[in-house]
């Protein structure tokens, strides 16, 4: 069964550094998403992406965040200058229509 994959599974970085989280959505899906989950809290929507542009973003998704689909398979989330409060699990998801399928997540730790 096709699945969403994410790399790396765990990323440790210093405050102020840039990180890129990578995702490979399910191949025939057209809609892509990023969510995050701070430890012990609920999952929060960050951004959705369709037809090579952002279709919706939350208040969390400020200027330090960006997304890109650099080729036909990858979907990336870049955090330009990480802060301590960016430490969280980041989930990528994709959908063909309504059902969203989530990747296994990248645990980001900012020191």
């Amino acid at each position: 069964e096709p699945e969403v994959t994410q790399t790396p599974s765990h990323q440790v970085t210093q405050m102020g550094q840039e990180v890129i989280l990578r995702c490979v959505p399910i191949s025939n899906h057209l809609y892509f998403y990023w969510y995050r989950q701070i430890l012990g809290q609920k999952v929060e929507f960050l951004v959705s992406f369709y037809n090579n542009e952002i279709s919706e973003k939350s208040e969390i998704f400020d200027d330090q965040f960006s997304v890109e689909r650099p080729d036909g398979s990858n979907f990336t989330l870049k955090i330009r200058s990480t802060k301590l409060e960016d430490s969280a699990m980041y989930f990528c998801a994709s959908s063909e229509a309504d059902t969203q399928y989530f990747g296994p997540g990248t645990r980001l730790t900012v020191l």
Partner: protein, 111 residues
């Protein structure tokens, strides 16, 4: 505002017991999904169920859209069922993305 509320927040069961988890949502939905977050943090898609009833093995779910709630039934629970169960909804009038998650029900199944 738009809300997804889950109950109970915590549930402890003996192996073999049955349970019902509830999700209330504050407005009409286009999409409702149930997820299981395992101890490794992965979000496993259980059901896409904006209305009606579905069954998959020991799990089943029912959404009564007119009354704005969904129920997840776990029968003959096993220790591997432990984890956090999330309900997430996309509301009518919302855009393609933006699944709104509840805070989850943390289930512990004891041997």
């Amino acid at each position: 505002g738009i809300q997804v509320e889950q109950s109970p927040p915590d549930l402890i069961l003996q192996e073999g017991a049955n349970s019902t988890l509830r999700c209330n949502f504050s407005d009409s939905v286009n999409n409702l999904q149930w997820f299981h977050q395992n101890p490794w943090g992965q979000l496993i898609n259980l059901f896409y169920i904006p209305s009606g009833t579905k069954q998959n093995g020991r799990l089943s779910a029912t959404t009564v859209a007119t009354e704005r709630y969904s129920l997840l039934y776990i029968s003959s629970s096993q220790t591997t069922d432990s984890g956090v169960y999330f309900c997430a909804a996309r509301f009518r009038g919302g855009s393609q993305g933006n699944l709104i998650f509840g805070k989850g029900t943390k289930l512990s199944v004891k041997p």
